[in-house]
Structure formats: C-alpha cells, structure tokens
C-alpha cells in the first residue's frame, strides 16, 4: 500500500496534469482489491476494474446530453449495485466503477482532458498491477503465517469477550451489546478461517487445530446463557479472572512464535478452579454440571494447544512450507 502510494504520488508529480489526482486515487482504491486466490485472478480483477472504470468515466465525462447521461448512469448503477449485492466478494470493484462514474458524470470535461482522466485511471491501475507482481513472492510466503497469527489474535479477542460475559455484572441487562460483540468476533474468526482455506495443504493441519480450538471455545461460551443465575459467576470471579489471564498469556506465546509452549500456569489455574468447584460451586450453583463441563472444555483447550500441528506452525523456526 505504501509502495503504491509513493509511486502514485511520484507519477502525480512528474505528470503534473490537471487530472493526475485520478491516478493517485485509482491506485489507492484498487490496492484494496483482493480476490484471496492466486496472482493471476487478482491481477485480472484489478485490470478489468481499472479498464471498465476508465471506459465508463470517459463515456460519462464527455459532456453527454442530460437525458443520455441519465440513461447511462442509470444502466451502469443498476448493473454495479446488482453485482455488489448479489456477489458480495465483488463489492469493492463494483463500488469503485460506480463511484468513479458518478463523479465523472458530475464533472464533464472537453475531449482532451477527458481522455487524460481515463489515461490517469489506467496508469493508476498499472501501478497497482506492477507492485502486485513485484511483491507477490514475498506476500505469498508470509501470507499463511500472517493469517495464522491473525486467526490466533481473533481467537484471543473472542476468548476475552467470552470471559467478559461471565465476569461483567451488567451482562444480563446489556445482553445485546455483549452478544453483538461476540457476533463480531466470531465473524472475524470465521473470515480468517475462510482465508486460511485458500492457502492450500500447507496449513491444513494447523487450520484443523485452530478450528478445534474455536469449537471448544463455543462449547464453554454457551455457559454464559445456560447458567440462568448470572450471580453464580460472582462466586468464582477470581478464579475465572486468573484463568482468562493465563489463557491470554498462552495466546500471546503462540502469537509471538515461542518455540516451546508453556501451559503449566494455565493448568495450575485450572486445578485451582477445580478445587473451587469441589468446595463451592458444586454445593451452591443451581446447575453444577455446567461448571463441570466448563472444566472439561478448558482441559480440552489445553490438550488442543499442545498438539504438534499447532505448536510447530507457530514456532519461529517452523515456517509453513507453501
């Protein structure tokens, strides 16, 4: 993005025409397009978006009679908005084309300047394509690892939000706020999984382990609403806080790529929670079975964390070989 911006600004400086701003903004907007698949598909998408944008801008900007312009705008907007709604993965390309068309229809120019504007859009497209090709080997290599880290970060945040549902007293009264937050975090995790699935076999084992972690988290997350008396969580608030802190620390170890994962502290905190369960929750909780299942899920969480596929993928020495 930075390289694209610097190149576009340099081109703006050297070309120094009245329409060069279109070059910069085409480059900036097209740099966001990602097909999430291979380089060829990505380049195709960027190229056709730039080309169609340049053509429609040229047509709309050549000072058409108002009725003709209105028809042109209507037809293109209809098509672009239908594509963006029907095929959400093409939302950005359709939006860029439509947006440029709307702007050009408001800024009619004489033939020379209008051609200059379309050429600027094509040049901006060229800059994005150039840097996509140059940076592809680097981005391809590190993409899998970056995606794994991003997934872990999202799982960590989801875990924090799950524990905040247990620990915050206002959870029953502010239900929608907490549920929306969880919905967003789950959405982010699933989006990361969807991207990981495009990375091929090199991350399959790791994705499976991460998916297992996610399933386990969903398992203990449901206790937030299954426990009908929310004040029960106050009885084990300190233990829950300690567990949440240690789980956070373990996620941090994974994100930082520690060679050896240390879950001893987390296991110790879980043992403390178990003792608390035996002495307090087992007697006072309305449904002690829920907390027993909570312990089971946390144990499964630790076991999954220690699977070889997961630890190997995150260690600094274990780069996924794509």
């Amino acid at each position: 993005m930075l390289l694209v911006t610097v190149t576009a600004l340099a081109a703006y400086f050297f070309l120094n025409t009245s329409q060069s701003a279109w070059l910069v903004w085409t480059a900036l907007l097209l740099a966001h397009i990602s097909s999430g698949e291979n380089l060829f598909k990505q380049l195709q998408l960027i190229f056709f978006t730039g080309l169609i944008a340049a053509l429609t801008v040229f047509i709309a900007g050549c000072g058409l009679f108002i009725i003709l312009l209105a028809v042109c705008l209507f037809v293109f907007t209809l098509f672009c908005m239908w594509v963006s709604e029907q095929y959400p993965q093409y939302f950005l390309p359709a939006f860029i084309i439509n947006f440029f068309l709307v702007l050009a229809s408001s800024l009619p120019l004489h033939l020379g300047a209008n051609s200059e504007r379309s050429i600027s859009i094509l040049l901006g497209t060229g800059i994005v394509i150039l840097w996509q090709v140059v940076c592809w080997p680097y981005s391809k290599q590190s993409l899998a690892k970056r995606l794994i880290k991003r997934t872990l970060l999202r799982l960590q945040r989801l875990n924090q939000d799950i524990f905040s549902c247990y620990l915050q007293e206002e959870f029953p009264t502010q239900l929608y706020v907490y549920e929306r937050r969880l919905h967003q975090q789950k959405n982010q995790v699933m989006r990361c999984f969807a991207l990981l699935q495009t990375q091929g076999k090199c991350v399959t084992d790791c994705t499976k382990s991460l998916a297992a972690l996610y399933d386990i988290m969903l398992g203990y997350a449901s206790i937030r609403w299954q426990e009908t008396d929310h004040s029960t969580f106050a009885l084990c608030a300190e233990e829950l806080k300690a567990l949440a802190k240690e789980m956070d620390a373990v996620f941090q170890q994974l994100i930082k790529g520690k060679d050896k994962l240390n879950t001893a502290m987390l296991t110790m905190k879980l043992t403390e929670f178990e003792q608390h369960f035996q002495t307090v929750l087992n007697v006072t909780a309305r449904e002690p079975l829920l907390f027993l299942l909570f312990i089971f899920y946390i144990k499964s969480f630790i076991t999954t964390l220690n699977t070889e596929a997961l630890t190997r993928s995150f260690s600094t020495s274990g780069e996924p070989s794509c």
């Binding site: 910069v24 903004w25 709307v102 549920e179």
Partner: protein, 351 residues
C-alpha cells in the same frame, strides 16, 4: 406478475435515486458542481432499516470533510502534491483501521474509509468563497435527503419479510449439518469430509460478507419498534449455531464404542427430534404456516438423561477418571440446550 429479488430491488432503488439526483442537480443545484450526485450515491449505501441514522451519519461526515478540506486547502492550495500526499496519508490511516477490523473489504469497511474518500470528493469540487460553501452545504443536504427518501419510497423494504428471507439459509444449513451428524452415528464409516463440508457451509452463511445472514439487525439505529424482537430471534439463532458447531469437536472425540453402544439409538432420536423442530421453524419462516407438530418435546431428552445416568458415575468427582463419560454428558447436555433454544424460537414465532 413480475417478482423482483432483493438484489434487483436494491439495484433499481439506487439507480433510480442517483438518476433523480442527477436530474435535480442539473436543473436546481445551488452550485455549478455535482457534489449533490456523489452525496446521493454515498447516502444510498445504507443497510436495511437504518436509513435515517446511517444517512445522517454519511451527511455529517460529508459536512465534516468539507470543513477539514477547507482547513487543508488553507495550507496546501498552492501545493497540489502536498495536498494529495496529505489526503493519501489520511486514506492510508483509515485503510489500516479498516484492515484491522477485517482482512476482506465489505460494506461495513466502507464507513471507515468514507471520510478520506469524501475529502477527495471535496477536493474535486473546491470552495473559493464562503457563499460557495454555503451553497455546497445546501446541495449536500438535498442529495442526502433525496437518497433517504428514495430508500423509503422506492421498493420500500418489508423488514419482516427480509428478516425471514435472510434468516432461513442459516437455519437450513444447520438442518443439513444435523442430517450429516445423524448419518455419522448411523453409518460410522462414512466420508469424514461430509460433516466438514456442512460445517463450512454454516460458517460461509454466517459470514456477514455473504449477505445471507441478517446482520443488519445489529446495526446501530435499526428500527426501534422491531429491534428487540428481531434481535431476540437472531441471538437465539446464533446460539443454536454455536451449539451445533461445538458438537463438531465432541463428534471428533474418539470414544470407547462399548460405552456409546447403548446410547446411540437415544442420541439419534434426540438429534432427529431436534431436526424435526428445526424443520418446522424453517417451514414456518418460508410458508408462514406450521405444517406438523412434533409430539415429543421433552420425553426423548428425559430418556437420554436417564440412560446416561445409568452408565455414568453417580458422583461428579468420578467424572475426572472417565473423560469418555464427560464427552457423552457434554453431547447430551448440548442436545438439551439445542431443544431449549428451538422451543424458545418456536414460541417466539407469531401465530
């Protein structure tokens, strides 16, 4: 009679709105510029049921962009390269925020980029005098007003129908997953990828970018009259998906088959009953009528619990020694929770 899908209505609505704004801009605009059209186009990009709130947000952002640009212009008007660099810098910062919020671009991300995009629009329609800015503000308000009106007058969205339409795919995906789960118990040697595919299908639908999940119900400013009912239903649907996805881990657990043997028929009965209830809810959402009524609402769950009690340790302490029983207990408990959710969803349906 020609029936249009939501995507077609959506596209037609925006196309008509933008065309109307273009014509009004041509004949009645206070400035010679076309900022009204750009405003109309951007304000029409609001989600379902939130046009006033989000439209107002877009309008305020445009006004803010106008003022910020005026300030920037004081410093950079004679230095266009620096001006473009400053605008690009603001754009990169908002891109980073958008990327942090989600790695793939969707409609929600647009709101994070909107300010910097608007700065560029304002840069294309520069202000040289206070009176021009005043006229621009009037044009902006007109453009936004027409877009909001268009949203309410052209193919107005029937939120109830849209909600039903959007929530059905996820329930159908869950029902498919449930069928695959039943098959896992009935035919243990079947293709393990069958369940994974069904699971991925649920996840795909849940993703907001797929447009198949009524995420718009969560948007700030959503219709206050419908908000609580729709959100109640949606939260329960999400809890249902959480429970089904958590079963994935339990299903993959390698159990001692002997202990499981007696429970298989009971587990399958419960799974089937849950699926039947789910199917009834889907049928209601699609056809607005209840086709059948499940006779067994709790009996199968009670039978499962009783059978489980007979084979699992009586003391909770002993569970620790036998993780297999914990997995079974978790499975049975999840089935019970699914039943509770389904019954609550069933009760929430308007008769």
């Amino acid at each position: 009679m020609l029936t249009l899908t939501y995507s077609q209505k959506y596209a037609l609505r925006i196309a008509i709105t933008v065309t109307v704004v273009l014509i009004i801009n041509y004949y009645f605009a206070f400035t010679e510029q076309g900022i009204m059209v750009a405003t109309g186009f951007l304000v029409s990009q609001t989600t379902k049921g939130t046009s006033f709130r989000q439209g107002g947000f877009f309008l305020l952002t445009i006004v803010a962009a106008l003022f910020v640009f005026s300030l920037l212009a004081v410093f950079f008007i004679e230095r266009p390269l620096q001006l473009q660099a400053a605008l690009a810098f603001i754009f990169i910062i908002s891109s980073l925020l958008a990327w942090k919020s989600s790695p793939t671009f969707n409609k929600a991300q647009l709101r994070l980029l909107i300010f910097s995009i608007l700065l560029w629009i304002v840069c294309l329609f520069p202000v040289h005098h206070y009176s021009v800015m005043q006229n621009q503000l009037i044009d902006l308000a007109l453009g936004a007003g027409i877009a909001i009106l268009g949203k309410h007058l052209i193919f107005p969205v029937k939120l109830g129908d849209e909600f039903r339409h959007d929530v059905t795919p996820v329930l159908r995906a869950v029902a498919d997953y449930s069928t695959a789960l039943i098959n896992v118990f009935l035919t243990p040697h079947q293709d393990p990828n069958a369940l994974t595919q069904k699971r991925e299908n649920i996840e795909k639908i849940l993703l907001s970018s797929s447009n198949n999940f009524p995420e718009w119900v969560y948007e700030v400013g959503f219709n206050p009259g419908l908000r609580s009912g729709f959100r109640f239903f949606l939260i329960h649907v999400e809890r249902l998906t959480e429970l089904y996805l958590s079963l994935d881990y339990l299903t993959a657990y390698h159990l001692d088959t002997v202990s499981l043997y007696d429970l298989i028929p009971l587990l399958v009965t419960t799974l089937k009953e849950n699926q039947a209830l789910l199917q009834e809810i889907i049928e209601y959402l699609e056809k607005k009528k209840i086709t059948t009524t499940s006779a067994h609402l709790v009996e199968d769950i009670l039978a499962l619990e009783t059978a489980l009690k007979q084979i699992t340790p009586t003391s909770l302490d002993l569970f620790d020694l036998s993780p297999d029983y914990l997995v079974l207990t978790a499975f049975a408990h999840t089935q019970k929770a699914i039943r509770e959710i389904l019954l609550q969803l069933g009760k929430a349906l308007p008769v």
